[in-house]
Amino acid sequence: MAGLHKSTYQNPVINWIDTRLPLFTMMQKEYGSFPTPKNFNYFWNFGALATVNLIIMIATGVFLAMNYSANTGLAFDSVERIMRDVNYGWLLRYAHANGASMFFIVVYIHIFRALYYGSYKAPREILFMLGVVIFLLMMATAFMGYVLPWGQMSYWGATVITNLFSAIPLVGDSIVTLLWGGFSVDNPTLNRFFALHYLLPFMIFGVVFLHVVALHITGSNNPLGIDVKSPQDTIPFHPYYTTKDSVGLCVYLLVFALLVFFLPNLLGDPDNYITANPLVTPAHIAPEWYFRPYYAMLRAVEWKLGGVMVMFASILVLFFLPWLDTSPVRSTRFRPMYKPFVALLVVSFFALLYVGGKPPEGAYVVIGRVATAYWFLHFLVVLPILGKIERPLPLPESISNPVLRARPPFSGGGGGPLPQGAAAKPMDRA
């Protein structure tokens, strides 16, 4: 439907632009008056923080790329030149390296928020799946970025991870050769990883855009996990959530600054300050902390192809999460039986994170296997069954009236509280 937009802006310049390209109207609608549930807690900061983090990564990355050489003979020293001789190069590089860690911290909390409050359930399935796509792209980007400084861990990490694809029957070896651009990790590998590392963030940006579009269609979930029922349940995004997000942003930047300025190498591996050497294998090859849970799962299975499948499945299972969870209640607050299982999932995650950085021996193997088993048990067994047998707590009537339905049975009217006997099947599904 073509036609000029009827702009309501008084300023003639803004009105002229808005009539032809209603960006101002759109921003006002989506970020100004956008009706948002009034009961967000600070967990709802993390989507905005992830967006800011992506922008920081792209901004620092572009300037790093201006001074970086994607050649095995030059890469390591060019990074050190950035650290030593480029004006504020140390700041750019430390911000970029620690920015990757911050990105994963933020995104892990963001994903936990979605899991805990059931943000993946109808009607937000596509929103959630787009999020998983972003996460996968992020992992690919981070992996290739880590190769670029061409230190020992860059080289050996790239060797170990690309070699995983050789486990695929029939075509595995050809895929690895294709990834490498040769018969070992070498200059062509570094070159293509650099090209892809520059490309993928913009693809992430595209999927983030879709993620936000989907969010603005379904509207946000909220800590109660119940639907918005009336305008009293919502407040305009601005100024309420712009100010609340700003508080979160400041705290996030504070943590980020403490890492960059005072502990810039805390999360890194000392071995990566040694130039890549194909003839010397480091004593322990461990990925960056944010990959360790999956690395632990990879090593939990002795059969190589099995380990690779388990590792990829651990994330791909999230795509099915909206259908694996059979409970009609979104927020874990009202799911007394589910709550300890969420805690156990978090414990498994941290156990895997810990084990992934340790040598695969002794008790570490046992912990890794138990935690891996629980990871899949949680999604494939606990979630489907629990939704059927669990008796959720009574849900609040609405967001603006967050009084629990603690009234006597059979007292409610239309849309009112449910009789206690029916509380196991609340009608809260949209």
């Binding site: 009034k38 020293d77 050190e80 650290m83 030593r84 140390w90 700041l91 430390y94 407040i235 100024p239 309420y240 100010t243 609340k244 700003s246 508080v247 942003l249 400041c250 705290v251 930047l253 504070l254 600054a257 403490l258 960059v260 300025f261 005072f262 810039p264 190498n265 000392p270 071995d271 300050y273 040694i274 004593a283 300890p340 299982f341 156990l344 414990v347 156990a351 810990y354 340790k358 040598p359 021996e361 002794g362 008790a363 570490y364 046992v366 912990i367 138990v370 935690a371 629980y374």
Partner: protein, 250 residues
């Protein structure tokens, strides 16, 4: 489920002692550069440079450093020029196209002890002395580890046969390394009169090497203090604004 938790915790507890290191713990030194306000001790770093120049640089290069960088430990331009002029470096070709040498300048990189890795190995019993530019950042707990290593040449435990061309060190992974004890009491004559004990020299050289690994550390921390103070203030202000905006909401 609770059983699972118990299993998890129990196995975590079991894992710790099973993987204990056979090396003594690296002693922690109170370095001037430790902590959020720590800075380099220039006098010590300059002494450390003297140790590097007179002892370490016979085998270990520092290819990422230029002589001009030495102003970062408080040497002035004249001193740097004099240090650089002491070495001879390839100076391109003359008008007849023949290679010539010239004295070093402040812009030159530290002169490498060996023309290439093979020459370095040949002169060191097959072992390649690692470049020292990043040695502190390239080791776990770098400053303390290098300090411990330099002081860690002890008699091997009874019954240990140290392979020929190798030396025993308490802290080196695997204990045997190709570098003989590099520092001995009184090995250098410090210009500032400090007594050159092994302990003193090792501390000075670590001070120098730490600076070399991270020459921008002081600027980083100074800027960091400002950024953190600013962000702390902003957090407070933003929180106040948020409270004010949300006040009328019920």
């Amino acid at each position: 489920m609770r059983k699972l938790l118990v299993t998890l915790l129990a196995s975590a507890a079991l894992a710790a002692p099973a993987l204990a290191q056979e090396h003594p713990e690296v002693p922690s030194v109170k370095w001037s550069f430790n902590g959020p306000f720590g800075s380099y001790d220039y006098a010590s770093a300059q002494r450390g440079f003297q140790v590097y120049k007179e002892v370490c640089s016979n085998c270990h290069g520092m290819k990422l450093l230029s002589y001009r960088d030495l102003t970062g430990i408080g040497l002035n331009a004249e001193q740097v020029k004099a240090i650089a002029a002491d070495v001879t470096v390839p100076g391109g070709t003359n008008d007849a196209g023949e290679p010539v040498d010239r004295p070093g300048t402040a812009a030159d990189r530290f002169k490498a002890p060996f023309p290439n890795d093979k020459a370095a190995r040949a002169a060191n019993g097959g072992a390649l002395p690692p470049d020292q530019s990043l040695i502190i950042k390239a080791r776990e707990n770098g400053p303390n580890y290098v300090h411990a290593l330099l002081n860690g040449y002890v008699d091997p435990p009874a019954g240990t046969v140290v392979p020929a061309g190798q030396y025993y060190n308490e802290y080196f992974p695997g204990h045997y390394l190709a570098m003989p004890q590099p520092l001995h009491d009184g090995q250098v004559d410090y210009v500032d009169g400090t007594k050159a004990t092994v302990e003193q020299m090792s501390k000075d050289v670590v001070q120098f090497l730490t600076w070399a690994s991270e020459p921008n550390m002081e600027r980083r921390k100074q800027l960091g203090v400002k950024v953190v103070l600013f962000l702390a203030l902003m957090t407070g202000l933003t929180y106040g604004v948020k409270r004010k905006v949300w006040k009328d909401l019920h």
